[in-house]
């Protein structure tokens, strides 16, 4: 059953800017989240370097048995990671368009927000929860975690 579990936003130098769970998940220590975000960032660079074909981008999708991790790296260097159930339809498109739009509208256009600062925006939280909550409910999965 498709579901969206969580969203992480990683800044230009690998620091974790935002992390949000949409469904009840086993808890991850905050320090571990910071380490995971910076390892992901570093590994994307190594994957591009190791690529057997020239001009590779960073990692776009990691598939495992129990989850899929979609990663969208913007032109400005911010990375969005979305953890979903395997074979969730349209997850990449969603990340690339709607979530990025929300980020641009509520975070970047906030005059008090600076680049690579931790994201603290009620409007962004609210709209993101509404969007992902609606998608999860459409698939009949759990309630949105507050």
């Amino acid at each position: 059953m498709p579901a969206m579990y969580s969203l992480w936003i990683v800044g230009r130098n690998g620091g974790l800017l935002y992390s949000r769970d949409f469904l009840p998940l086993p808890p991850i220590e905050f320090n571990d989240k910071l380490r995971l975000a910076s390892s992901w960032f570093g590994m994307c660079g190594i994957a591009a370097q190791l690529s057997p074909v020239p001009d590779s981008s960073g990692i776009q999708l990691m598939q495992a048995d129990t989850f899929d991790l979609h990663s969208f790296h913007t032109l400005t260097g911010t990375t969005f990671m979305l953890l979903t159930e395997p074979h969730t339809p349209d997850a990449t498109e969603l990340l690339r368009t709607t979530v990025y739009e929300l980020y641009c509208d509520y975070v970047l256009k906030n005059p008090f927000h600076e680049m690579d600062q931790v994201v603290k925006s009620e409007l962004f939280d609210h709209n993101l929860l509404a969007l992902i909550g609606a998608i999860n409910r459409r698939w009949g999965v759990g309630l949105v975690q507050q």
Binding site: S6, P26, E29, M43, A47, L50, P52, M62, A64
Partner: protein, 138 residues
């Protein structure tokens, strides 16, 4: 397009086997030398596996990220896709790692990798009386 490169690593990180069909970006531009390439590839797979175990949403009892994992424990990932290539990964219960890079349009290669392990590696290499486990071959 099809397959590009294939590696087998043992659990200590040594590359046991390497084959390349086509490698459009020479190793000099990427890692620098064949040894560096092996080390980076092993490191990538190791870190990705640690990340997959830490992020796994279905495992209720997780250890902290830095704690040493037993071989075969925890969630392993199947594949990593970038814009130009896809890396398929299989880890055997004994810690042997099979890594195959292909072009990004290929689907799941889990069965093929399991075939390579079960019917080719185990039958032909592991059961060979002259083979010492942990040695590089070919």
């Amino acid at each position: 397009m099809g397959c590009m490169t294939f590696y087998i690593f043992n659990r200590k990180g040594r590359c046991q086997y390497y084959h390349e069909w086509q490698r459009l970006k020479p190793i000099k531009q990427g890692a620098g030398s064949q040894d560096e390439d092996f080390k980076l590839m092993f490191g990538l797979c190791w870190s990705m596996r640690a990340l997959a175990t830490a992020v796994d949403p279905k495992n209720p009892s997780k250890q902290q990220m830095g704690a040493p994992m037993r071989i075969g424990d925890g969630c392993s990932f199947n594949s990593i896709k970038t814009s130009n290539f896809k890396l398929h990964y299989l880890e055997s219960p004994s810690g042997l790692k099979f890594v195959l890079t292909t072009d990004p349009t290929v689907g799941s290669m889990v069965e093929q990798l399991q075939y390579i392990y079960a019917s080719l590696f185990v039958e032909l290499v592991a059961k060979n009386p002259l083979y010492t486990p942990g040695d590089a071959f070919l």
